[in-house]
Assembly symmetry: D2
Homo-oligomer: 153 residues x 4
């Protein structure tokens, strides 16, 4: 993977229109991000911030805290959009995989995930995500994205 | 981690009442598993099967397929309950971490996750999950659980 | 990632000459596989078996068991060659990432890693590895490979 | 995992004698760290720095760069010792798992891994590792440690 750009290069390729479109897309009623309550708060070069406010339907029945799946879904969404504003318009970015450590439980309030693009090559990108609630880090993730041409080309 | 049991030992400690309780818990209206549509189909010794049927609110706005967060949440739920029927009643099982590869996209139908307990020690367990849709494996995961006394003891 | 082949397709593309070359390459004195003692035992379609025999220099000073880094290196080698016999000659296969759970410690004897290609697409492959010693599974891994043209094309 | 300490708490429990012992242990001739050339450069509270200088026996035969297993082993060693200076003397720290992304290849010079303890609970710790060569990040890892009583207690 010699075809990598450094962090300085991330800003050069940042497309604010794509960033704005990602924020709009999350608001589409009836689809998953809005259904779960995910909001794209900020989209900066190489850094994306998503959040959700805990609601009763995020809670796990037995233990009474936020279900791990809610945090995993927030991490997945953050990963999936972190690279889009940095690549040539029209390219597709697929989440290949991620790994997530849960560090603490969440009861209420806002859960905020910040994704940082650690490396962006022509085809492969690596993003780290930190998830925070009430001033504490509650999860840490690291994932891999794959940049490709859309199907049919 | 020399304190591990082999697979043969898993059946000996299986508690069908706990397995039944986990299936009931997922049905509690207003909480996350029911909100997302997760059903605990089967709970066998060392093997748990969870599923959900794709609904419009599982779809990601831009690409029109099931959002990766739905699959991640299904994996998380499967992991989180796989070990409970195998440990002493009253113990808590926390999901420490997991890693998930996405292998293909899902458009419709039933998504089914099968979790297999690969190793169960006194404190640490490892579970693998295979996720299937329409006859194809769409995700593969591997996660770590931690068995502990409940808070306050 | 709709461009994936199923397991049946793996056998069709298997190149026994590449498999044989990989076995030879590991024997080159003075380079890492031979230095660590890694042997490529078998290379079958979609399935690769590597092993090493524990030597004093594999041991960790404090605890007296095989160092985790030896097992990690064996897993990495198994991953790195599992896909080569399945792709068009001349392509490069880069290990993008892997995740490894240690399940038990190793004191002596042969450590054997079996890598199974779970999915092979045009560009991205997923491989699982099971590591065994003295009849017990001692590590489980899951990794991602990226198939690319060699540099300069 | 409510039983976690914050980063400020890490310094309070730092034991410089343990840190020194870890540096000495890596120098023991005939065992794995010295065999591979791993040096523990620095052990500070919550932060450990290990390195190795590339030698011909670290190279992979076919491609002519440092074998991924060398980097994986360096990461494993860094993970395995990062938490020891922070826990009660006599406790054992086992590496449960880690995940590693390769970001670039290495040809020569010094490879340096810095491990940062992100969370330390009574039983479970999470450590991130960044690996650098010639001014570039060449690998990123995230792993889980388990703090336990030694066998027999």
């Amino acid at each position: 993977m010699a075809d990598v750009d450094d962090r300085a290069g991330l800003a050069a390729g940042f497309n604010p229109k794509v960033a704005e479109a990602l924020q709009q897309a999350a608001r589409v009623e009836g689809h998953f991000p809005a259904f779960l309550g995910i909001v794209v708060e900020r989209a900066e070069p190489g850094r994306i911030t998503c959040s959700l406010t805990v609601r009763p339907e995020h809670i796990t029945p037995v233990v009474g805290v936020v279900h791990g799946g809610v945090i995993a879904a927030l991490v997945d969404h953050t990963l999936s959009i972190a690279v889009y504003p940095l690549v040539e318009p029209g390219k597709w970015v697929a989440t290949v995989e991620f790994k997530l450590n849960y560090l603490g439980s969440v009861k209420e309030g806002v859960i905020r995930a910040v994704g940082s693009v650690e490396r962006l090559g022509k085809r492969v990108a690596v993003v780290r995500v930190e998830v925070e609630n009430a001033g504490a880090t509650v999860a840490l993730a690291q994932g891999t994205l794959y940049v490709r041409d859309p199907p049919g080309r």
